[in-house]
């Protein structure tokens, strides 16, 4: 039902879209989500931001890696730095991006165009997806005047649901990306940037899908919570 509703919504929005790239995006997505889950192209991604407030903080970088036929495809992994207004400020300590490196960065509008093209026809995957989507929506609205609808899977809420299903208490920090990964025996990566975290998130989804698939037949609706 959910999928049917989504598809219609995407079709409708494609007629009223403000830009060609957005029209194409909605059409491809509506087409993708009608397929069985194994055939739907997925795109794990991660953003780095100057802060946590989508209204006045900015996107610093975007990393992504696609999943096809249940496998992460490193040859199509990609990464962009986004130029910002003002300085990276305090968060540089976290992301390791310094102002100088931002010289290779592209503008926010170019970045959004690139993102929409790259992820066309893909269901998005992110850890704590609502935050990243919030930033993307705000930026795309600024650039194209479009109130975006994305189809996304949130590995964090999948994990929360799994833990709750097992009637366990969710401890502080238990839903962080590395904490989730270690429960599936996935290696912990020392480096953290948008590209590595997109990869980490993609691997986590594969592990989650494998653990759910062990018990039942998996559909997209199972994952869109």
């Amino acid at each position: 039902m959910k999928r049917f509703y989504l598809k219609n919504q995407l079709r409708l929005k494609s007629f009223r879209a403000a830009d060609d790239v957005i029209t194409d995006y909605y059409r491809a997505l509506a087409c993708a989500i009608s397929k069985p889950l194994v055939d739907i192209p997925l795109m794990a991604f991660d953003l780095e931001m100057t802060g946590l407030n989508a209204q006045f903080d900015q996107i610093l970088s975007i990393g992504m890696v696609p999943i096809q036929n249940g496998m992460l495809q490193l040859k199509d992994a990609d990464y962009r730095l986004v130029s910002i207004e003002g300085s990276v400020g305090d968060s540089a300590a976290i992301h390791g991006i310094v102002d100088g490196q931002l010289e290779s960065a592209i503008s926010a509008k170019e970045a959004m165009h690139w993102f929409l093209e790259k992820t066309q026809g893909h269901v998005l995957i992110a850890h704590h997806a609502p935050l990243d989507l919030c930033f993307l929506k705000a930026e795309i609205f600024r650039c194209f005047g479009e109130k975006m609808t994305f189809v996304s899977i949130d590995t964090m809420s999948l994990e929360r649901a799994r833990i709750l299903r097992q009637h366990e208490v969710i401890k502080e920090g238990a839903l962080r990306l590395d904490a989730c990964r270690s429960r599936y025996g996935l290696p912990i990566y020392a480096a953290h940037n948008a590209a590595v975290d997109a990869l980490s998130c993609g691997e986590l989804l594969l592990a989650q899908m494998a653990s759910i698939a062990g018990t039942e037949e998996l559909t997209l609706s199972d994952l869109l919570r």
């Binding site: 290696p187 594969l206 494998a210």
Partner: protein, 615 residues
């Protein structure tokens, strides 16, 4: 995109054999071509698509490879590979890969796999089918010249005499007198600041009329020329001659670790085998022989640190033992007088095979030309007791199983020896078979060769083509099997159990010795050294050339690992054992040892087929 995007993957692969042999560009393109999958225990097996073979690289989890008959071939963990045999052969995979623990696996597509094989010979060699079959290609077997390539740690004094900088010149001189050394290292705040030598005391103190109560820094050589502890003896010699000095402090990051002097280097030279044997032959009594034999452990360490071939080390050490034995016989005959009849001093076991290493015990016997009368018996008892006692004092401890010439049981006439062997061969009960591994590897160390031949020819006549005896001997040698390989921190046995360490002697070298012995006895071959036995077996087409070379290489490799492990244990002050711990083994050596074990296993299977067919 640059390398930093795939950093975790690049980092993981660049530490692995054989990916570490790739240049940065090739490694990066390899990483970029990967796909990543996750395999859950719930699906039981990794689906191997026969149409799309690829190289599987285990990143996490655990897997088990079994052949079509369900026999365990390998257990795989982080950093192990599977799927490459069908990539190389183009044949459909017949092995099954079971998932033991959920895990992440990288897949390298065939096009990239083949491209990387062309980029790096080592990469190609590693995965090539031939690699598993043939070990002979490594430079590691090359013997090097001793003095130039051994490390200074084998020669230096490890607890150098030191004195604080605030001490006086007289203090230092008294300390040197008390310790009977020609130099002292001067230390300030645990760092080396200078050295004071006999020569300094002469030139800077006495000749200049300096007061002995002055502080030491007025007489010492400040910031002396020093050397790092991992340097070669050759480099130390070079430094000394360049600067015309005789004392070199050994310093690692400012801290004095030891001192090496020109005398140490000279002494190191004298522990070269030829000089040592010459010295043995010159000694005139037991106490001086004991003194000389103290250099034997040093000789072993020198040979190990020079990376000599294990086979050569065994032969060198055994020739030293032989020389000592002969010298002891000669010296005791000078006391006891001429022997009443011809006799041979027999060496059995490792001395017989010429593969003695550290802490060997004695295995010997006496072969007499004919039945001794009471006087002769008394003479040989006195002689053998004296020689065995002498060997014991020289570091070759008494045989715990009492297989020694001083035991009247193993001091017999030719006729009686023949009878004993005859009985072992014709009634091969378990005890007789146990004796075989010791007594059938026999060699005469002293005495007329014709007498020894009289025994050996007879024995080989008995064993040659003696199916019942050979089948018994084979059965006995198959009671122990080599391990399958490694899994994580453990050694993986063939039955799937995991043990902490591997006994390289009993689970490796001894098994190859057994295989070579059975074949040699079956063909009446006189050689007793395992490498020589294998060579003759190959020349006579009893073992095919490829198998023979493999067996010889595996023998050398395992023995080499055992020796270098013992060298490591010795230099780190650990007890010297035959046990190798997986954590001390690099990923390359893990693969090489695994291949060597495979050769031993194949050798055992071949032996069983040949010798136990009808039983």
């Amino acid at each position: 995109m640059d390398a930093s995007e795939l950093q975790p993957i690049v980092q993981f692969l660049q530490q692995r054999v054989p990916f570490l042999s790739l240049d940065e560009e090739a490694l990066l393109s390899g990483c970029r071509s990967l796909t990543i999958g996750y395999y859950s225990k719930a699906s039981a097996f990794v689906p191997l698509d026969p149409l799309h073979p690829q190289l599987y690289i285990v990143r996490s989890g655990a897997f088990e490879v079994r052949d079509i008959n369900g026999e365990l071939l390998d257990r795989l963990g982080e950093g192990d590979y599977f799927g490459f045999p069908s990539l190389l052969s183009g044949e459909e995979a017949s092995n099954r890969v079971a998932i033991l623990e959920d895990g992440l696996v990288y897949h390298l597509p065939p096009e990239m796999f083949n491209l990387l094989r062309t980029k790096s010979r080592e990469f190609d060699r590693f995965f090539n089918k031939a690699f598993a079959k043939r070990l002979r290609h490594q430079g590691r077997f090359k013997a090097k010249e001793l003095t130039t390539t051994s490390r200074i740690t084998t020669l230096m004094s490890k607890s150098p005499l030191t004195i604080d900088m605030k001490a006086t010149i007289s203090d230092a001189a008294r300390l040197m007198r008390k310790s009977r050394v020609s130099s002292v290292l001067v230390i300030d705040n645990e760092k080396l600041v200078g050295i004071l030598t006999d020569k300094d005391l002469r030139n800077r103190v006495l000749a200049e009329g300096l007061d002995g109560s002055l502080a030491i820094h007025q007489a010492m050589t400040t910031t002396p020329i020093s050397i790092e502890s991992n340097s070669l003896v050759f480099e130390a010699m070079l430094l000394m001659s360049e600067h015309n000095i005789h004392h070199l402090p050994v310093v690692d990051s400012g801290q004095a670790k030891g001192i090496i002097t020109s005398t140490d280097i000279l002494r190191g030279q004298s522990s070269q085998p030829l000089l040592l044997i010459g010295e043995i032959d010159r000694q005139k009594d037991l106490p001086s022989l004991i003194q000389v034999s103290k250099q034997i452990p040093l000789l072993l360490q020198n040979l190990i640190s020079a990376d000599a071939r294990a086979e050569e080390i065994g032969r060198v050490l055994t020739s030293v033992t032989d020389a000592l034995t002969r010298r002891l016989i000669v010296l005791n005959q000078q006391i006891l007088g001429e022997a009443p009849m011809a006799f041979c001093w027999l060496a059995f076991g490792s001395q017989g095979r010429q593969d003695q290493v550290a802490c060997s015990d004695q295995d010997n016997g006496l072969l007499l030309a004919h039945e001794p009368d009471e006087a002769a018996e008394g003479y040989f008892e006195a002689l053998s007791k004296a020689v065995c006692a002498g060997l014991d004092e020289c570091g070759y401890i008494y045989c715990p199983g009492d297989i020694m010439a001083q035991n009247p049981k193993w001091r017999m006439s030719l006729k009686k020896w023949r009878g004993v062997f005859h009985q072992w061969v014709n009634t091969p009960d378990p005890k007789a078979l146990m004796h075989c591994s010791i007594f059938f590897d026999m060699r005469s160390v002293y005495g007329p060769q014709s007498l020894f031949n009289g025994l050996q020819d007879e024995v080989l006549n008995n064993t040659k083509d003696n199916d019942i005896f050979l089948a018994g001997l084979t059965g006995n040698s198959l009671t122990s099997t080599p391990p399958l390989g490694f899994f994580r921190k453990f050694v993986l046995e063939r039955d799937g159990s995991e043990v902490k360490g591997i006994d390289l002697k009993h689970k490796g070298s001894a098994l190859i010795n057994d295989i070579a012995r059975v074949y040699a006895l079956s063909a009446g071959i006189k050689e007793v050294n395992t490498a020589k036995r294998i060579r003759v077996l190959m020349d006579q087409n009893i073992i095919n050339r490829k198998d023979a070379l493999n067996l010889a290489d595996a023998h050398e490799f395992i023995a080499h690992m055992r020796l270098s492990n013992q060298g490591y244990q010795y230099t780190n002050g650990k007890p010297v054992t035959n046990y190798l711990m997986p954590k001390d083994v690099s990923s390359l050596v893990r693969h090489q040892l695994r291949d060597a074990f495979k050769v031993v296993h194949d050798g055992q299977v071949g032996l069983k087929l040949k010798m136990m067919r009808s039983y």
